[in-house]
Amino acid sequence: MSRLELRHVRKAFGGLDVLADISLSVGAGEFVSILGPSGAGKSTLFQLLTGAEHGQGQMFFDGAPLDDHGRHFAFMPQRDALMPWRRVLDNTTLGLEVQGIGRKAARARVAPLFSEFGLEGFERHFPAQLSGGMRQRAALLRTVVQERDMLLLDEPFGALDALTRTAMQRWLERMWRHHSWTALLITHDVREAVFLSDRIYVLSARPARIVREITVPLPRPRHPTGAAARQAGVIEAEILDIILNSQPSEGHDHD
């Protein structure tokens, strides 16, 4: 049964259609990506889910209508949004603090995860003293420790250099297999989506609609080499074709 389900969700900002008819679902323990060109309104979708914006259409979580009060999501924004004035340890406990958990208890819950996230020994450092990859891992740690039903990841690796990004994608895939999180990832990186996801929704340019739903049949753990890599390449090329052909071109009339 699907945990998150969206039916015909639309959103306009001042007469400008951003989301036109989005229907999608995410099952328990599933890794789903929303892939689309920049400015397609992907982040708007997350704003609707976290209650920062309101749109039309229906949203369900575990079959019940999604309202602002049901806090089902742990959200990881595009840039890491680490607070520069808090040490890494205190950044990772932020979500727990907001939930009303005491500082000591929150730290105790976070501490054992530091080694798994490659941050052991950096608890007392400030974010500015960490590398880009470490910052993203700290941000993800802050997100998952909230133990919400589902992770919302908004282009988490977009700001990293290519090598670090690849390393982080492999690390995230490994972590996801261990923890079987239910995750929804926003990205415009086709390779990232194919490498990480069970399913991919391909979005058109604005106003965004879902032009294709793709199930990624690659075995896990995902291997970046051999036959699986060739198969991944074929899927990537197919998706690129879909995206580039759905871009509005001159003389093409969208209604």
């Binding site: 209650g51 949004a81 932020l94 603090e97 052991e120 020994g121 450092h125 400030f126 003293q129 590398s131």
Partner: protein, 272 residues
């Protein structure tokens, strides 16, 4: 990390190297002034040499200290009042946006009032006591501090706010956890500027009328044709301003340890 004792002289040397240009430029200025005052034939009652100013300052140190104390008191009390008022109002403005449009025009006008005109009036209305000094110090420092704080809140990274709300934080929590700390660099920038205004404001208020204070001391010295004592009092007020300025820098270092941490190279590994 604790610095080893051997690095201590090296840090001192680095500090000296950093201070050297300022020391040299001020020194050259004083030497040039001294030469001009001594050898150009100008009268010491017009332009006294720095050595004479210094000697007279030493001779009159009791009177200078005696007059500096009310100035320090007026500066600190006025600034404290201004700061707490600006902080309270900045929070109100942050929570009720329309207030900003209602208040800022009035406050901008308050900044256009010439101190020369307003200081005697305030003394006329509130007498020679502490009250008019506090009011004038507050008048010159309140708006810069308010603007610094309000701008600081608005400099909060939008994504941090969005993330906190997604975590379930209300407006008050967002303010305490994100907006207030985000405003700290702006707050300290405003503090450094305002503290220098504060001293000038206090002296101006005393100049317009006071029983004691560096401002009234300057006025009396001028009326007695003692420019050396005027300059000695100027030196005292400059020293006071520098000390207060230094305190704000120190305070900022203590309040924002992450600023310096970010500039130092990241620890290669965990320090154990």
């Amino acid at each position: 990390m604790v610095s080893s004792p051997s690095s201590y002289p090296r840090r001192l040397a680095a500090l000296l190297a950093k201070a050297a240009p300022a020391v040299i430029s001020v020194g050259l200025l004083l030497v040039a002034w001294e030469f001009y005052a001594r050898y150009s034939g100008i009268k010491p009652t017009t332009l006294p040499a720095p050595s004479r100013v210094f000697a007279q300052a030493m001779l009159n140190r009791e009177a200078l200290v005696d007059n500096a104390i009310p100035t320090i008191r007026a500066t600190l009390i006025g600034f404290a009042c201004s700061l707490s008022g600006a902080f309270a109002l900045s929070m109100l403005v942050d929570f009720f946006r329309p207030l900003r449009r209602a208040l800022f025009p009035v406050l901008i006008v308050s900044q256009t009032l010439p101190l020369v005109a307003i200081a005697p009036l305030v003394v006329l209305w509130f007498g020679f006591g502490l009250m008019p000094k506090i009011m004038l110090v507050a008048l010159v420092t309140f708006f810069p501090m308010l603007v610094a704080l309000v701008q600081g809140y608005e400099a909060t990274e939008a994504e941090i706010g969005q993330m906190l709300r997604a975590m379930g934080a209300g407006r008050w929590r967002v303010f305490l956890l994100a907006r207030l700390p985000s405003a700290l660099p702006y707050f300290f920038a405003g503090l450094r500027i305002s503290i220098t205004y504060a001293v000038v404001g206090a002296i101006f208020a005393e100049y317009a009328g006071a029983a004691k204070g560096l401002g009234i001391y300057m006025l009396n010295a001028k009326n007695n044709f003692r420019p050396d004592l005027v300059l000695a009092a100027v030196g005292a007020s400059a020293a006071l301003t520098l000390v207060l300025f230094g305190l704000t820098v120190l305070l900022q270092r203590l309040a924002m340890p992450w600023e310096r941490a970010g500039r130092e190279p990241a620890g290669k590994g965990p320090s154990r």
